[in-house]
């Protein structure tokens, strides 16, 4: 049970406090409710570029990192399709420096033209390092636009193409900041050896005067139901053929989410997952194969991806994979197998909250979803999934016309 207090400042900033006296480290996690889904199709990669600029200086503080390092702290951030997450840890008695730093960059940014130029280069290098200069690194960049035709999940947070970043202007960046980086659009979690009264006072002192700003009221296009199987074939300089299959699945808030997540575990969690046992070990068609959900807040993707063993043909591998999918669509799962993946979820939850930073991130995420207290219901929500729900959800997802397949062949 993760206990916490929650309050909201007059300007709309939501604050959550979790007390853990077992550690001298305090974690601060701030989510801004803006992700790559909020980008214009011609300016993709913007939310992520912006995350870099958040370290380039704010209105009263020329550099973000140095003062934090000076008090023994450390920080980082990430951007996904749904939101942007900034986090830091700091020895508890220097927590106020974190309030000073984070409130100043919520107050106003002041990055220089030089910082802007440099960070565009850095992000382009990141694009190359993690996507373009990696074997199979562009697979997700290809799969998304195959599966999504209108929803902005069709591009990855890194963007469609480095040119979008290269062409970004300072003015566009300022507009982006004004629109999204506002207190009422943010959630802050503090976890560690702290008291709520003390955090309330610090929050009022440093964040209280920031203008409320506007909410991010999204009006995103809804992805129409997919009515026809799609596929794309590419040839790349890689050593082995690979296959990527993506099916549309429900949103994070949907009641079917937990069953859907468990289906991915049944297929591929641990060494005993069905795909590993059958397709890697028994039939030796794949060197590795996994099933997972994309983890998006809106309707996301259920993905299966595997690399073929040398000498195995694509049709043979795909047919064997289809048999496993037909099995989970056609037959009710044994209670014992369902219990196995539920037990695994319970353990994973325990291991995912070993540090205060983990707890702070989780609380912020669930508050963004609607209620931080969901953290405490999760094990129960998974435990209540029935074998019948698994069958029902599997049949909703694995319809042939709901599938997009990327055939990724090794160039010979």
């Amino acid at each position: 049970m993760t206990e916490f207090d929650r309050f909201t400042l007059d300007n709309g900033l939501r604050v959550i406090v979790h007390s853990d006296t077992s550690t001298p480290i305090v974690a601060m996690n701030i989510i801004y409710n803006v992700g790559s889904r909020d980008e214009h199709p011609d300016r993709t990669g913007f939310a992520h570029l912006f995350e870099h600029l958040m370290f380039g200086g704010s209105v009263n503080i020329p550099r973000y990192d140095e003062p934090l390092e000076r008090v023994g702290g450390e920080n980082n951030a990430f951007t996904n399709n749904d939101f942007t997450n900034y986090y830091l840890t700091v020895p508890g008695h220097n927590l106020e420096t974190a309030f000073w730093l984070e409130s100043d960059r919520m107050l106003n940014l002041a990055f220089s033209a030089k910082s802007f130029d440099v960070q565009r280069n850095v992000v382009v290098e990141e694009f190359r390092q993690n996507y373009l200069n990696q074997p199979y690194g562009d697979a997700w960049l290809l799969l998304r636009p195959l599966a999504y035709k209108v929803h902005p999940y069709q591009w990855a947070p890194i963007g469609i193409d480095p040119s979008h970043i290269e062409n970004a202007s300072m003015e566009e960046v300022r507009d982006f900041y004004e629109r999204f980086y506002n207190p009422c659009n943010a959630i802050m979690v503090i976890a560690g050896n702290v008291k709520t009264d003390e955090i309330r006072a610090l929050s009022e002192k440093w964040f209280g005067v920031i203008d409320k700003g506007g909410l991010n009221n999204r009006n995103l296009p809804v992805e129409p139901e997919q009515t026809e199987a799609r596929s794309l074939t590419v040839h790349r300089e890689v050593p082995y053929d690979a296959i990527y299959k993506a099916w549309h699945m429900c949103s994070r808030a949907d009641s079917g989410f937990f069953a859907t997540d468990l289906i991915s575990d049944i297929l591929s969690a641990g060494q005993s997952g069905r795909l590993n046992q059958q397709l890697v070990k028994n039939l030796r068609l794949f060197s590795d194969i996994s099933a997972f959900i994309s983890g998006d807040i809106e309707a996301g993707l259920f993905v299966i991806t595997g690399k073929l063993m040398k000498g195995v043909s694509m049709p043979e591998a795909e047919a064997a994979l289809q048999l496993e999918i037909d099995k989970i669509r056609g037959n009710i799962i044994a209670e014992n197998e369902l219990q196995k993946v539920k037990n695994r979820v319970e353990a994973m939850m325990a291991f995912s909250e070993m540090r205060v930073l983990d707890k702070a991130m989780n609380l912020a995420y669930y508050e963004l979803l609607g209620d931080a207290n969901q953290v405490n219901d999760l094990v129960q929500r998974y435990a209540s999934v029935t074998t019948n729900e698994i069958l029902v959800e599997a049949n909703k997802i694995f319809k042939p016309e709901n599938c997009s397949t990327l055939y990724y062949f090794a160039k010979d």
């Binding site: 440099v118 890689v238 060494q271 690399k307 063993m309 695994r344 291991f351």
Partner: protein, 430 residues
């Protein structure tokens, strides 16, 4: 209403004070195995790490150490691989297999409430593996394909080949695996390696998490007997025979980035200059605000990330600068790295920068003792080198007291660019 804060100055900085390094409780099983316990945390979980002198240092053929470790869980006297994984997954537990150069590890992560069902599996895979032929074919095939994929990555090529440049390809720290090596190892090699290295005389155990009463008794029952004894073998000695050339290039056609390595031989953790080099390394490339990051990333945008590290091993160690840079700026990046190395040798570091690094390293150490799993990770390195917690106290003492002159002396001794080796893996020879 509170008064408006002064945003132009940083809130008062409190000294980080003394770090309380946790002392593990140490017990010994009847057969001599030492058990180190870090009993703390907020979650009802435990990790049981068994450490063996079974790293690649001890193998006669490449791939043997890694394959043996990976195969432990692929079938035992009493359980098939499938039964093992079904049972382990049913109780929400998992194993982690790691093979490093000096040691190999097998770690069980489990909820305490299921330990009665999961601990016997750990015992089974450590003591009674049978290395079935069929399972080995699958594992070997998989590892071979993973290796072929990794060899497409400039970063992987640079990492493996740089060690070979430093230590020579006949030295266990220098050798790297080629796909052809995998086919030369058979299950008999694994049986032999297991018998020679995975026994009670070669083993230590580290427990971390909320440790239940009676835990040592359970470990005694599974691991304390003489049924799996062996003789700690005296490690073979190897002499490094690094390259006689300083500059190396490996072609990777079509690469958009070059991977860079610049470095040289260093020493193990117990060397008197180790602590000082940790500080010097931090200044150069050991944290986000380091000189390399400031220069090559934050000032010039050549790279997404660049850093340096001091890597201590049981019998030696090395220093290395590593990063991937845009292929078109490789030459400029090399020249900036050498400029920063030279600057360490010719200019003394200023007080402001030095105090920043002292704070950063102290904070890093504080995070490294945060929680039982982190403590176990930190302490493991000491056990490997036969050191105790005073090593970290001395390290912190150096962090707080080393001066600019001493740092410059270390730079001149170890980091002169002309003494270091350079490797570039990329699309164009520099």
């Amino acid at each position: 209403m509170t008064t408006l804060p002064n945003r132009n100055i940083q809130p008062a900085i409190q000294s980080l004070g003394r770090i309380d390094f946790p002392q593990p409780e140490i017990s010994q099983l009847s057969n001599g195995i030492k058990v180190y316990q870090f009993n703390s945390g907020t979650q009802d979980v435990i990790s049981i790490e068994m450490m063996f002198a079974a790293g690649s240092w001890f193998q006669k053929k490449p791939f043997t150490a890694m394959a043996t470790n990976l195969m432990l869980r692929e079938g035992t006297r009493n359980f098939s691989a499938q039964k093992l994984s079904e049972t382990l997954d049913y109780f929400g537990a998992h194993f982690e297999n790691t093979t490093e150069r000096d040691n190999a590890y097998i770690t069980l992560y489990s909820l305490n409430k299921h330990l009665d069902n999961t601990l016997p599996l750990l015992s089974e895979i450590v003591k009674n593996p049978v290395f079935p032929e069929g399972e080995y074919d699958v594992i070997a095939g998989k590892q071979r394909q993973m290796l072929e994929v990794n060899r497409q990555k400039v970063n992987f090529l640079a990492r493996t080949q740089f060690n070979s440049i430093l230590f020579g390809n006949d030295h266990p720290y220098g050798i790297y695996l080629e796909p052809g090596d995998i086919g030369k190892v058979n299950t008999e090699d694994l049986v032999d390696f297991h018998k020679a290295q995975y026994h009670s005389g070669n083993c230590s155990i580290i427990l971390a998490g909320l440790i239940k009463p009676g835990m040592i008794k359970d470990l005694e029952a599974h691991f304390g007997g003489n049924d799996w004894s062996g003789i700690s073998n005296k490690p073979i000695q190897y002499l490094p025979s690094g390259s006689d050339q300083k500059n190396h290039f490996h072609m990777k056609e079509g690469a958009m980035q070059s991977a860079i390595r610049i470095g040289g031989m260093m020493f193990s953790r117990s060397h008197p200059d180790f602590a000082g080099m940790k500080v010097l390394n931090a200044i150069l490339g050991g944290y986000f605000g380091s000189r390399l990051m400031n220069n090559l990333r934050e000032d010039k945008g050549y790279t997404y990330g660049i850093g340096s590290s001091v890597v201590p091993l049981r019998n030696g160690g090395y220093f290395v600068v590593s990063g991937e840079v845009g292929a078109g700026v490789t030459r400029e990046a090399l020249s900036e790295i050498r400029f920063e190395l030279t600057r360490l040798c010719t200019e003394q570091v200023g007080e402001s920068e030095l105090s920043l690094v002292r704070s950063y390293l102290t904070g890093e150490m504080l995070r490294a003792v945060d929680g039982p799993f982190a403590q176990a990770d930190l302490y493991r390195e000491l056990i490997e080198d036969g050191l105790n917690i005073s090593h970290f106290e001395e390290l912190i003492d150096t962090v707080n007291h080393i001066n600019a002159q001493q740092l410059q002396d270390l730079a001149i001794k170890y980091l002169k660019p002309e003494d270091l080796f350079t490797l570039v893996v990329g699309p164009e020879e520099i």
